[in-house]
Structures are given as C-alpha cells and as structure tokens.
Amino acid sequence: MSNQRSAPRDDDLLLQDFSRNVTNKAWALFFGNAAIVSAIPLWLFWRIHQMEITSYFIHFIIGTAISTYFLNSAYQNMKFILKHKIAQKREEAINREITKLFANDKNANKKDKDDRILARKNEVADFEATTFSIFYNNAFYLVCLIVLSFFVFKNFSPTVNYLFSVGLSTAMVFLFSTGEK
C-alpha cells in the first residue's frame, strides 16, 4: 500500500526534475524579468539616440515583444541545463543537511529520508538555476546590446540601430542559452 502511494510521488518528482516545463511561479518570474530587461534599452534609445517615443512606438513595441519572448526562452533553456549540474554539485551538502535533520528522528525510514533529499535537491537546484539563468542572460544581453548599439551600429540611423542591436542581442542570448559549454 505504501509503495503504491509513494510511487506516483516519486514519478512526480522525477518528472519535475527532468522536465523542461517550469512552474507558473517560475514562468511569471522569467516573463517579468524578460519584460523589464527588454524595456531597459527603450530609455537608452529615447534619451541618447533621440528616438521619440511618439514617433517610434511601433518599433519599440515590436522590439520589446520579440526580445521578451526570446529572453524568456533563453532563461528556460539555461535553467534546464544548469539545474542538473547544480543538483549534482549540491547533493553532498543536501545529504548532510537532511541526515542531520533526521539524526534524532528514530521513526523515520530510509524511504522518507530519500524522498526528502530528492525534494530538497530539486528545490535548491531549481532556485539556484533560475536565479543564475536570469543573472547570466541579463548580463550577456546588456553587454551585447551596448557593444552593438554604441560601437557596431553607431553610424547607422536610429531605427536600424535599434532593430539590429536588439534583434542581434536577443538572437545571441537565445543561441548561446542552449549551449552546454
């Protein structure tokens, strides 16, 4: 009976661990961050490159929407790749933590302890992978954007500058988010 009850729970944990799907909370976090980071260059192009919002709002909306979508995807891709590696690296520390927790509990069995370790490992790896993915992709995106906008496309018209800077930065971040090295 207990085996049947715990099996679906094990499956859920394993599915969650190896799945590319993110929870609603993580998705909202990714989407919110992607939207904010995609909107940051608008201030730059408005104030430095003198692109008036009233004249270029269509470009800005399209650029921000595309950038948000691909940044969101980049966050998810990188999170998936990092999660397993982080889980492996944190395994020892989590084992120690849970063992210490269960040291005084005589009623606990090995199965409960393993479940607890797996859940905790999943939780820690998920959180760390999420935050690191956001941090790394944001840093990479902003470096690419500044280099492209102020050095490569410096002498082009503001429209071309904006569309190519944002487009290429987004494309590079998305492309490199799938890499494992």
């Binding site: 840093a139 470096v143 500044i146 280099v147 050095f151």
Partner: protein, 171 residues
C-alpha cells in the same frame, strides 16, 4: 542784487535737481551664463545680466562696465528697466578666465570722471559706481573616457564573472 540772487537760486535749484537724478546707494544682482562645453565649441563667451536697484528709485541712464581693462557700455532692454546686459567673448577657452572676475561699473558721472584722467594711477583712483563679480566655472572637455566605454567595461566584467561561474557549474 535781485538778478544776482535769482541766478544763485537757479544754480542751487539746478544742483539739487541734478543730485536727485543720480542713483543713490545702488544694490546689484548678477545672473550670468558662460560657455561650459569645450569639446563642441572653439570659443568661449559669457553673458552677464546686472540688475541695479537704487534707494531713490532712479536708474542710471547708461551703465559702463570695466571688463579686463576695457570699458564698454552695457546694453539695456526697454521692457526691463533696471537690467543691464554685458557680453564677453574670447577667441580661446583659456582667454576667458576661470573663477571669479571683478567688473567695475560706472554711471555717466563716474564714467566722465574716468575719461578725464590722464594716467593709469589717476584712473585707478576714480571711485566706480559699483563693483560686481561674475563666476565662470570653466569650459570642460568632458570625461577622458567616453561613457559607453566605461559602461561596456563595467557590464563586461559582470558578464565575465558570470561566465566563469557558469563554466565552473558546467564543468
């Protein structure tokens, strides 16, 4: 006798009238603007607005300013009585001295006294109508490194630290 007394009386009346025409106890207020950007400009200029307030309500008909040894008349605006404008220009940024520059002001009487002097010492001895200071902060060429370069270096360092951390995780 009557003729002499009336002449003396007329002279004294004219004297009193002339004294009443002059500005008494003037107070000055200065607003100035000068060239601040040396990168996009070749010459420096300054515009000084001098507001004169007199105790008896009279304004000098003309105000003269001694700037860098040259005495020039100040411009006036018909719509703003009591305000006098002085323009200064310099062929290079260094010629317009940075910091406080003292400007001596002369009204008609003091200016005519100044014009009558024959030596520099005598000219220096003439008491001016007033003296004001205007401040020029200096023209700047801006930061040595462009701001976008500093931004790239800053963000680049952050990304580099993140990249190293990611490489450690994926190793």
């Amino acid at each position: 006798m009557l003729c002499l007394s009336s002449t003396i009386f007329t002279f004294l009346a004219l004297l009193a009238f002339a004294k009443g025409e002059n500005c008494e106890s003037p107070q000055f207020k200065i607003t100035s603007y000068s060239t601040k950007d040396a990168r996009l400009t070749a010459e420096s200029a300054a515009q000084v607005e001098i507001t004169v307030k007199c105790k008896n309500g009279k304004q000098p008909s003309t105000l003269y300013a001694d700037i860098n040894g040259q005495v020039v008349p100040c411009a006036q605006s018909a719509g703003s009585p009591g305000k006098y404008y002085l323009g200064v220009s310099a062929a290079t940024h260094k010629q317009l001295a940075k910091g406080r520059t003292s400007v001596k002001l002369y009204d008609d009487d003091t200016y005519s006294t100044l014009r009558k002097t024959r030596t520099d010492d005598a000219a220096k001895a003439v008491k001016p109508f007033g003296e004001v200071d205007f401040y020029h902060p200096g023209a700047s060429f801006g930061p040595w490194l462009p701001s976008e370069f500093i931004a790239v270096i800053g963000f680049g360092l952050v990304w580099w630290a993140a990249y190293r951390e990611r490489s450690k995780i994926l190793a």
